[in-house]
Point group: C2
Chain length 145, copies 2
DNA sequence: GTGGTTGCAAAGACTTTGCATTGTT
DNA sequence: AACAATGCAAAGTCTTTGCAACCAC
């Protein structure tokens, strides 16, 4: 079966919190993993709905919160709402978004991570997390005029 | 009079767009500048309301959009909503937020700016803007346990 | 006077919550 | 059997919009 690792992580989390491993939660997780990119709850809900018609929006919202909590999904707030996206082990990724077409790239850069840690330290903070969004014009859109 | 520079910027912008310089807009700008920190529209509205009771929430929303557009305010989206905050000439600033107490520090760091430009370029993007939020525990909260 | 601006209330978009029912353990 | 989870709809938030009255230019 697909997504063994992720399901194991989810199961472990579910058990550790004395929650129940419902069909719906597994389906949300599966669709989320298949899509494998940044999406809004609404987009995710539509895709799930088309495959499993009687799943509620509320369940999608509730499940995505769990996925974030157990580290299987990241959460990014953009101008037009929240996006969920896959998170992989140990590599925090940042975002590069095209302001013209909305294209979404991910960045993994150790230098930035280190620089951030240093800056936080200078200000007396212990860094827990960060979120970096770069807005620009992607190569495709540069050609278009 | 206070805030000469900012008012001049705002006026110029207003004129360039054929808008009108209403009392309300000036009041919103003034209170925003007096507060001089990151706040939600709601907080700003309450402070304005206490000074000028018959100003509407919609006007505050509308004016803050203008202030962002003319570069007098920055806009940051946090988990619990949008925050507006002062922007100063030519120095883009990033944010450092304490996850315990909500303390809000600003960071200005040229290295980060340069690194970001380079990364965007590597991916074929022309960088237009960026938003960096670091989440950590501030020095005060570290002491508290 | 023209046409942008306002306050208000209504509408919208997104998200959460209450509750009776259903499902997991 | 106990109690968490679900779907639905209702309720909450935050933000935008429509509109008649109003005001800057």
């Amino acid at each position: 079966m697909e997504f063994e690792r992720e399901k194991k992580i989810f199961n472990k989390f579910i058990k550790s919190k004395n929650l129940r491993c419902s069909d719906q939660r597994i389906k949300v997780l599966e669709v989320f993993l298949i899509i494998n990119k940044h999406i809004s709850v609404d987009e995710l809900y539509k895709m799930i709905k088309s495959k499993y018609p009687n799943i509620g929006m509320a369940t999608v919202y509730r499940t995505m919160k769990l996925l974030v909590e157990c580290g299987l999904s990241g959460e990014t707030r953009l101008n037009d709402g929240v996006r969920y996206g896959p998170l992989f082990r140990n590599d925090h990724h940042d975002h590069l978004i095209c302001v013209r077409c909305g294209r979404f790239d991910e960045i993994i850069n150790i230098e930035i991570e280190n620089l951030q840690k240093r800056i936080a330290k200078e200000k007396g903070y212990i860094l827990e997390n960060h979120e970096l969004i770069l807005y620009g014009i992607c190569s495709e859109c540069q050609k278009k005029k």
